[in-house]
């Protein structure tokens, strides 16, 4: 099933700082809820392992993440696909755009994702809510990280 989500966050840091953190595997790993591994395999590729729970389905996703449409320091497109084994799969992408605002940076994002298998069968009612929470948690963590310098 398909899912879309969008939002914006005001971050207390300069655009270049935000951009740099958005490309820093260690920062991303610390901010992504449930992320166990995030290793850079090239300038634009990561491999990731993350555990997440949606309703009755708990899944450990292993997947690849690619960065495309890189436009430093204005934004990129981040996309990936994760295999949750018996729980199903998730794939999708987000465009992230950065603009200067109020002495900091405004981050806007648009997510399009698809999930399948048991996640879609059992969790579909909960997916939008769960995804929104994951996104909120991520950006809360990320905002704290960039604000901390």
């Amino acid at each position: 099933m398909a899912m879309t989500m969008s939002g914006e966050y005001q971050l207390a840091a300069k655009r270049e700082t935000v951009w740099q953190k958005l490309n820093d595997a260690e920062v991303l790993k610390a901010c992504i809820p449930g992320c166990e591994e995030l290793n850079k395999t090239s300038d634009t590729e990561f491999v990731a392992v993350a555990t997440t729970k949606i309703g009755p389905v708990k899944a450990r996703f292993k997947g690849k993440v690619h960065l495309t449409d890189l436009d430093p320091p204005n934004g990129y497109r981040i996309s990936g696909e994760g295999d949750g084994g018996v729980a199903g799969f998730a794939k999708g992408g987000a465009t992230v755009a950065l603009t200067d605002k109020d002495g900091g940076t405004l981050l806007t994002y648009n997510v399009e994702a698809q999930i399948g298998g048991k996640l879609a069968q059992l969790g579909q009612r909960l997916v939008n809510g769960a995804a929104k929470k994951i996104a909120d948690d991520f950006f809360k963590n990320f905002a704290a990280n960039v604000a901390g310098g």
Binding site: G88, G116, Q121, L122
Partner: protein, 788 residues
């Protein structure tokens, strides 16, 4: 009528064990050394399998083996088959795609089994399945039957261009077109018959055991027809010769058709059991049931009915696209053809009918027979057309029906069927009395005073049950005969075991079949046991579906009882030193006509076995007879259901205010069981009309895969049913039985939708008529009225 004979409301003998948890279902059975199977299933609706890596899974604790489809093919395990050949209009045979029990090279629906993990415990098997790596190349999917044939739609099987399995037709297009040309009024409807999950209370389960000493296999299985399962698995899948394969279907908790079919999991359990030399057990969880049990219905239809100036029906034509899912299930091809098109005459005298059906593959689980199977779809088409036609012509819907009813029998329809008996006026009349249709206008005004909308809907249905004459179905493409067998074994003490090829999975055969024997032999019902569901006990049988156990299964028992009685009379004649022709058998007693000599049933049974009164040259000892009964026609149950609904226009919430069902089932063996069947059938029909609906999203993900999203009817959704009967005996079987198992599910969806559309004043609503759908339809109708 005796207290336990035909017509008595005997309490069900089997219920004691069911309600006290003493039944023996497949999952209750455990074999020494068994391993547990867990099926790894595709999360994609359509994908190539590039690679399966089970290396890490095989090393997990407790794992015995991880097996896949390539190994299955290497071991020459054959594909599952569809056993009913349908030819297209152009004479070409249906396009049956390969259907391996484990996917080979490609998956075609979410839930398609890709590999099986065998482990000491189920938890170990599940954990190991997490480690199996399957590399998929995802392909575009198609799930909507109306889009499956479109140019550019994803192609699911090479054998079936445009995903088309067959393009079948029935009836005469020329006379039908002529009828429409001469019509005064034509009613047209676009109908979607929503897709349903069968939801038997017991999920499917299989336990397979290989005996290396005897080189034979035993399968305990949730089956409605264990002999057919054995035949298919032996002869087509090639698992083992028929005499080396025993299939046992013990207590089975509901089927509704879904357990007729031969499924991948039972094939895999058998194969795996021989491969690892251990019993292999699998029980579906509810999620698997949603994903893998054959679904029902799923038709998209355009239908038209032509009327003359007096409202007499001149013709009917229908064009249907039937979704058969990703593979052709065991009897899938017959459901939207010979179980559907042949019933489009309904209870009406219709001079010409033409029906076209395209069956298509989609990336969804296979679709096959589900309670009613084709006949609910046909009834829905006919009864909606008649009702809407009456509204459009400003006629009373009951009057229009009366005007068109078939009134003399036998009646040959233009679509194969020859109705043998019925009285449609009688059931309509009785239903209208019970439903107090005369008081409807007042009730409607009362509802309106409370701000509610009230509607009334009729459904005068016909079904063809008791399938079926073997020669007839053979000529229509069936790969099997549809007779039934029975064996009556009388023990030396006079108690009786009846072995039947019918299978009970909720129908109450242990009671009704015993009632027949009790009545016929004059013995207590406790002295009769019904044996079924084991290919090693019962020689052969065709199983239970299509409301056939009474009409066909019991008729076979009658034939066997005839033979038993004839033999017992010979024994009695020797005992009482009388001529065989002078022996009269009545109420459990043999008497010599014109004398006071008599012998009790038990004494005759004993004498048959001790054989002291006759020599071997005069008579064979023993008392055991078998019979095969092949019906000479289908049976044609019919009736009238009337539904009244009250709708809150503010919320769309729809309450069924009353329900009347008057059915003609011919002879009734046990009125309590029949009423239970009627209740259950109506509940499922109301479920279809108002609550249930399988939804796949456009990528082929099943989004109604749990009870959170798939709504089953609950007690509060249902009214107290007012149930009545009328009776015309079925002339084609010895007991006059017609069958009652499916009637409720066949009649009710049209009655509900006719009532709802009557209430809201719009035909523009599809099933399931959820509160939201009803509310939207009301808003749309109001909008259209304002615009006009």
């Amino acid at each position: 009528m005796s207290a336990t004979g035909i017509g008595a409301a005997v309490r069900r003998k089997e219920d004691q064990r069911f309600v006290t948890g003493s039944g023996h279902y497949t999952d209750d059975i455990n074999r020494p050394g068994q391993v547990h199977a867990y099926f790894l299933r595709s999360p994609h609706a359509h994908a190539k399998i590039k690679k399966i890596d089970a290396g890490a899974a095989g090393k997990m604790p407790g794992v015995v083996a991880v097996l896949n489809g390539t190994e299955l093919a290497t071991d020459k395990i054959g594909n599952l088959i569809c056993g009913w050949m349908i030819h297209s209009k152009d004479g070409s045979p249906m396009k049956m795609a390969p259907n391996s029990a484990l996917a080979v090279g490609k998956v075609c629906h979410v839930g398609n089994a890709v590999a099986v993990v065998l482990a000491e415990t189920l938890a170990q098997a599940r954990d190991a399945a997490e480690k199996v790596k399957v590399d998929y190349e995802v392909l575009p999917a198609v799930v909507d039957p109306a889009k499956a044939q479109a140019q550019g739609a994803p192609q699911i099987h090479e054998i079936a261009p445009n995903n088309t399995i067959y393009q079948w037709h029935l009836g005469d297009p020329k006379t039908t077109d002529a009828a429409f040309k001469s019509a005064k009024h034509v009613t047209k409807l676009d109908i979607v018959n929503n897709r349903l999950a069968p939801n038997a209370i017991e999920p499917r389960a299989s336990l397979a055991e290989y005996d290396s000493g005897a080189d034979s296999l035993t399968l305990w299985n949730t089956s409605q027809n264990p002999h057919v399962a054995r035949l298919v698995i032996a002869a087509f899948v090639g698992m083992a010769p028929e005499h080396k394969l025993r299939v046992i279907a013990p207590d089975v908790g509901g089927g509704f058709g879904s357990k007729i079919f031969i499924y991948p999991e039972e094939v895999v359990c058998l194969w795996a059991s021989r491969k690892v030399c251990r019993p292999v057990k699998w029980t579906a969880d509810r999620s698997e049931a949603f994903l893998t049990d054959a679904h029902g219905r799923d038709h998209v239809t355009h239908a038209e009915m032509a009327f003359d100036a007096e409202g007499k029906i001149l013709g009917l034509r229908a064009k249907t696209i039937a979704n058969l899912g990703a593979y052709m299930s065991t009897f899938s091809s017959s459901v939207p053809t010979y179980l559907y098109g042949t019933l489009l005459s309904g209870q009406y005298s219709i001079p010409s009918i033409y029906c076209e059906v395209d069956a298509v593959y989609t990336n969804t689980v296979p679709v096959d027979a589900y309670r009613g199977a084709g006949r609910p779809e046909a009834t829905f088409v006919v009864e909606r057309l008649v009702e809407v036609g009456a509204r459009e012509m400003g006629l009373n819907p009951a009057d229009l029906r009366r005007r068109n009813f078939i009134k003399s029998f036998p009646h040959q329809t233009p679509v194969i069927m020859a109705y043998d008996a019925g009285d449609y006026l009688a059931s309509l009349k009785k239903a209208m009395e019970i439903a107090d249709t005369k008081g409807f206008d007042k009730r409607k005004r009362d509802s309106e005073r409370n701000g509610k909308l009230r509607g009334i809907g009729y459904s005068t249905y016909i079904e063809a049950c008791g399938i079926a004459p073997s020669q007839a179905v053979g000529s229509l493409g069936a790969g099997v005969g549809l007779w039934e067998s029975a064996e009556v074994r009388v023990n030396p003490t006079g108690s009786v075991e009846v072995l039947t090829g019918s299978h009970s999975h909720g129908q109450g055969h242990e009671t009704t079949f015993a009632q027949l024997v009790s009545e016929r032999l004059g013995i207590p019902i406790e002295n009769v046991s019904i044996v079924h569901g084991d290919t090693d006990k019962v020689q052969f049988g065709m199983g239970t579906y299509g409301s056939r156990s009474g009409a066909v299964g019991m008729s076979a028992i009658v034939k066997a009882l005839d033979k038993v009685e004839a033999k017992a009379k010979k024994v009695a004649a020797f005992m009482m030193e009388a001529a065989e022709g002078d022996i009269v058998f009545k109420d459990g007693k043999f008497t010599v006509a014109g004398t006071d000599k008599s012998a009790e049933w038990g004494a005759v049974a004993l004498n048959a076995y001790i054989a002291h009164k006759f020599t071997g040259a005069e008579l064979e000892p023993g008392l055991k007879e078998g019979a095969f009964y092949d019906p000479t026609n289908f049976t044609f149950p019919s009736g009238c259901h009337i539904c009244e609904v009250e709708i809150d226009p503010e919320t769309g919430a729809t309450e069924i205010a009353s329900w009347t069902a008057v059915d003609d089932f011919g002879t009734i063996i046990n009125p309590m069981i029949v009423e239970g069947q009627v209740h259950g059938g109506i509940a499922q029909g109301i479920g279809q009309a108002m609550l249930e609906g399988i939804v796949y999203d456009k990528e082929g993900q099943l989004v109604t895969g749990s009870y959170m999203d798939y709504t089953m009817p609950r007690a509060h959704n249902l009214p107290s049913f007012k149930v009545g009967t009328t009776m015309t005996k079925c002339p084609s079987n010895p007991l006059g039985i017609k069958g009652c198992g499916e009637a409720g599910a066949i009649a009710s969806p049209a009655a509900v939708m006719n009532a709802i559309t009557d209430a809201i004043g719009s035909e523009n609503i599809a099933m399931p008529a959820t509160p939201q759908a009803v509310w939207v339809a009301i808003q749309r109708a109001n909008g259209a009225r304002k615009a006009a």
